[in-house]
């Protein structure tokens, strides 16, 4: 099968992490966060990690919505920690959102991109990041004040430290291709919206 060419001159270490170990190791206690998780892998794994918990709004469509939903949530709940977690494909679809988020810079918002370099849901085609696009540099260039790239389990500790500290941050978690943690979750978004609000607001 013909292959797309990698972008010339970009040298990155190979992605070796298994997301089924790396994501839970980085996030640790997902119940501590208000979470918006992008389709599809990150929504599956955050719902699996919380048993489809009410503090997670996991997308099943509207590709590109995740980071901006997390911004709206973070601005509306300044005393809560908000996690926007998504994949490389979803982030690339609305990558300008990183510029908007950098401008607003809510101190309670953390963004994590689980970058497997592939469109895992649609036949595992190479994504732009798998061919050399570096979203950590994009985030830095847009002005996100703290940016960390994680390639190894040893680097996860620094990611945990950043997640625990105040201030807007972007973490690029580079993982190899392969399945996400998965358990049954509600794919009825109005149910997910209502239960999220009921748990947070009592309404």
């Amino acid at each position: 099968m013909a292959q797309l060419k990698r972008i010339a001159g970009v040298n990155q270490p190979p992605a070796t992490l298994d997301r089924r170990e790396a994501v839970p190791a980085l996030i640790e206690r997902p119940a501590d966060w208000l979470v918006v998780a992008g389709l599809a892998g990150t929504a599956q794994e955050l719902c699996a990690m919380t048993d489809d918990g009410p503090n997670v709004f996991g997308l099943g469509g509207a590709m590109g919505a995740g980071p901006m939903m997390a911004l709206g949530l973070a601005l509306s709940q300044p005393t809560r920690r908000v996690l926007g977690i998504t994949g490389d494909g979803e982030l690339l679809m609305n990558v300008g959102a990183l510029a908007t988020i950098a401008l607003m810079a809510p101190a309670n918002l953390k963004l994590v991109c689980v970058d497997n370099g592939h469109y895992g849901e649609t036949g595992n085609q190479d994504s732009h990041t798998g061919l050399g696009v570096q979203l950590d540099r994009v985030a830095s260039g847009f002005g996100i004040p703290t940016v960390l790239t994680i390639n190894t389990m040893a680097e996860i500790e620094e990611g945990r430290r950043i997640l625990a500290a105040p201030g807007l941050a972007f973490i690029l978690l580079r993982v190899k291709e392969g399945p996400a943690l998965k358990k049954p979750r509600s794919l009825r978004p109005h149910v997910v919206r209502d239960r999220f609000r009921a748990a947070l607001l009592g309404a």
Partner: protein
């Protein structure tokens, strides 16, 4: 009445939205929204959020609703086309949604590039489940905004208020 600070109806619309509890005002800049944008930037109790593209605002307002806040998206009619698939988030999750759309490709338009999306604006919104209200005269604005707020936050509907070029004045070319 129009003063150097802009038309009175625009100030009244801002005040009405603030009285409804709106705290997030997101926009892609447009001359028709100048008063709303300037007021939001000067308001310490509002997040004034410039977007790189309009669909960001659809997602932002959904997140605001999850956190119990109210927001409004200001855009030009050309931006409505950018929002189409993102409005599936609003429809599927039954998020309340309010957008105020300044029209181009409308009454007296002098730029032919604006007509295709201007003509399609109402149909595109309605196709994605957004109710469309329209203002063509200053006296239309307040009752229409009040109705839209009731529909959005009373009934949980998605609503667009179109500001026609008969109201805004067509841009000169």
């Amino acid at each position: 009445m129009t003063t150097p600070d802009g038309p009175a109806w625009a100030h009244a619309m801002y005040d009405a939205l603030r009285a409804q509890g709106v705290t997030q005002i997101a926009y892609v800049p447009d001359a028709g929204h100048r008063v709303m944008i300037d007021r939001s930037l000067a308001d310490p109790d509002v997040h004034s959020i410039p977007l790189t593209t309009e669909e960001e605002g659809v997602a932002l307002l959904a997140g605001a609703d999850l956190g119990g806040a109210r927001g409004v998206l200001l855009m030009q009619s050309s931006g409505v086309g950018n929002c189409i698939n993102m409005l599936s988030l609003t429809a599927g999750s039954r998020f309340p949604f309010l957008t105020v759309v300044s029209m181009r490709g409308d009454f007296g338009e002098g730029n032919p590039w604006q007509f295709p999306m201007g003509r399609a604006t109402q149909a595109v919104l309605e196709a994605m489940g957004v109710a469309v209200l329209r203002c063509d005269a200053p006296e239309d604005v307040m009752p229409t905004i009040q109705a839209a707020c009731t529909m959005a936050w009373g009934s949980g509907e998605a609503v667009a208020v179109l500001l026609g070029q008969r109201l805004l004045g067509a841009k000169k070319f």
